[in-house]
Amino acid sequence: MLTQIINGIIHTPSGWLKDGSIIISDNKILEVSNCDRPVVGAKIIDAKGMYITPGGIELHCHGGGGRDFMEGTEEAFRTAVATHMQHGTTSIYPTLSSSSMPMIRAAVATTEQLMAEKNSPVLGLHLEGHYFNMKMAGGQIPEYIKDPDPSEYIPLLEETKCIKRWDAAPELPGATAFGRYITRKGVLASIGHTAAEYHEVLEAYEAGFSHATHFYNAMPGFHRKNEYKYEGTVESIYLIDDMTVEVIGDGIHVPATILKLIYKIKGVEKTALITDALACAASDSQEAFDPRVIIEDGVCKLADRSALAGSIATMDRVIKAVTTQALIPLFDVIRMISETPALIMGIQDRKGSLRKGKDADILLIDKNYDLCGVIAMGKIIKPI
């Protein structure tokens, strides 16, 4: 069955394309054409002058619609994934924050089940923790945090296939070996909830930690200890050009000026935007999986207000916040939610841009940067 989207401004790797069309066949993009004449047999979708962009690829999200991936059940997963899809996330790496091994195993089982389904938006599991620096724990559950333990992680990665990313603090004993091992297993190693200084970040990078978790959050910047000054993890990451970063794009975890600075220094191709959404995102729920967390002023925090603990944002809110507050051009914002995350996760062969042969994951966004339509694997999820 052919579908043809016309009358929109198409986001292509070579720039915005006007007066063109996208032809979808089943779950793939058959063509991106510079011609908008109707193709024989195609069902026409009129984009009404809106932007037509690749779907959002979420690297870091804990839940939504009232459900958290840490619950581990099929129902929780389906609810959260479907919720985010309505808001522009056409591909997702469900994320667990620091958990116990039984919790991880349960989530792994559910992830593998969902990944096996045809046209699944679930691309793999992301473990945010539990090998973190306790001092930088923030909203992570402290009871589960420990040093990297090969008797845990080796069997886990030998016996399962769906874990695609694992975050850790590289300064912990055994973290370098952990990074090397998981990299060999095809798992992205990312530094996070860390206080690493330059030499530790460099060593981590060389051991395979090529990405940084929620840049600027749960990591120190330049600081003073007694009379001397030290670079923080933030500056160290800026010094390593090839290290990629992800940034929470809710406009709250990182202020607009810093979003601008990251865009300027790290650039589009090294920066992915994430929601880091908790279960309460896109829901009426006021509760989080972690009882210490409250929702206030449009963000999740620890009740003692000592740290932020995740967002209630969804992909569409990230697009709107970053374009309107940080004044980054929509073209680049879209790349940071699609092309760059695809590159970081190594799935750019089939996702991340509107090109012939790639998956038909498409968003329609109006001139006010509001999301108006979602197509995932060729199926209309949110009609215009």
Partner: protein, 381 residues
């Protein structure tokens, strides 16, 4: 009249290194830079024996040396400081005075004007820091206040030697102050500030085109309770047109940050400064003033052990940038000569080795130690 020919060295020009060429000096100026190593008639020959031949350093944000500070206000002090730094490669200097009170400021300024009028061409002009600084940053150490138009206008008219004045842009009246300085051809710089992006940008638009000692005496990004805020540092990094400087003594900042600023701002927007105090290039054992002491090469306040200021000289900064911050030697040299000369608007006569400019020349060995200094064509050693 004989001219001097320096040959057989690696000469740094704005276009890059000349490996076999000559630098000719006559009557205090660079007569020519040629591509030939052949000895010339009538030349007093100086064999550089393969050494680097680079422009003399241009120092701003520099308070003293050899046991003196400029605000001591005596010719003896000025001469001692200038000569001490000259021996370490500083051939152009902008004497810096901090928040020392009206009388001392005017006395020092008048002396500076007099020395310049009497023909001292090493002095580029006066650099004042304060008293229009943030009280949160200066923490009661100095008497700071918001800019007072009547007072600063009268100071500027009394002291024509002022070439730079640092202030905190968020203070009420600071933007008017910047506009006034800019009108008078004086560089307005932000310093000792808590300004976040809006205030830094407004300051820049009003004339604060330079940021003093980046990362020092100003906040970087920080957390207040649960939220994060950009600091002055990030704001300066966001404004491309703003130049900056770093205290490159590897005490005020770690080498990683020096490298980061070089990477982000670049050699043409970043100057190296010493923030040198009384005890830079100091030979004596006893410290005459009791507020500070030297601990392992670091000058600290006795009261709280925080760093009191620099005791480095420009040559050490260049060496630090190359050896510890991994910056190419020519860029480190530029950050100590061409860039500050451009920032202070004296690039027409100093800062690079070019025909017609002052013959302020340094010779360095392969370990980046200075082996010779020429100031206005006269060999100092």
């Amino acid at each position: 009249m004989n001219f001097i020919q320096i040959f057989n060295g690696k000469i740094l020009t704005p276009q890059g290194w000349i490996d076999s060429g000559s630098l000719l000096i006559n009557e205090g100026r660079i007569l020519a830079i040629t591509g030939s190593n052949l000895p010339l008639e009538n030349a007093e020959l100086v064999d550089a024996t393969g050494r680097y031949v680079i422009p003399g350093y241009v120092a701003m944000n520099i308070y003293g040396a050899a046991g003196y500070q400029f605000h001591d206000g005596t010719e003896e002090a000025f001469n001692a400081i200038i000569n001490a730094h000259l021996a370490h490669g500083t051939t152009t200097i902008f004497p810096t005075v901090g928040t020392v009170g009206y009388e001392k400021l005017v006395a020092t300024g008048k002396l500076c004007s007099k020395l310049m009028e009497d023909g001292n061409r090493i002095i580029g002009g006066l650099h004042i820091v304060g008293p229009y600084l943030s009280s949160e940053i200066t923490k009661g150490r100095y008497e700071v206040k918001p800019p007072d138009r009547k007072i600063y206008e009268s100071i500027v008219s009394e002291l024509p030697c002022i070439r730079r004045w640092d202030a905190a842009p968020e203070l009420p009246g600071a933007c008017d102050f910047a506009r006034f300085l800019t009108e008078k051809g004086i560089l307005a710089a932000i310093s000792h500030t808590m300004a976040e992006y809006e205030d830094v940008k407004a300051g820049f638009d009003a004339g604060f085109t330079h940021a003093a000692q980046l990362y020092n005496s100003m906040p970087g990004f920080h957390k207040r309770r649960e939220y994060k805020y950009e600091g002055t540092v990030e704001s300066v990094l966001l404004i491309d047109g703003m130049t900056t400087e770093v205290i490159a003594d590897c005490v005020h900042l770690p080498a990683t940050i020096l490298r980061l600023v070089y990477k982000l701002k670049g050699a043409s927007r970043t100057a190296l400064v010493t923030a040198a105090l009384r005890y830079a290039a100091y030979e004596g054992k006893e410290l005459a003033f009791s507020k500070v002491y030297i601990d392992n090469g670091v000058c600290k306040f006795k009261s709280d052990d925080t760093v009191a200021g620099g005791i480095s000289t420009m040559d050490q900064l260049v060496r630090n940038m190359v050896i510890r911050a991994d910056v190419p030697f020519e860029d480190a040299v530029r950050m100590a000569s061409e860039t500050p000369a451009r920032i202070m608007n004296v690039i027409d006569r100093v800062g690079t080795l070019e025909k017609g400019k002052d013959a302020d020349i340094l010779m360095l060995d392969k370990q980046y130690n200075i082996t010779s200094v020429w100031s206005k064509g006269v060999r100092i050693f």
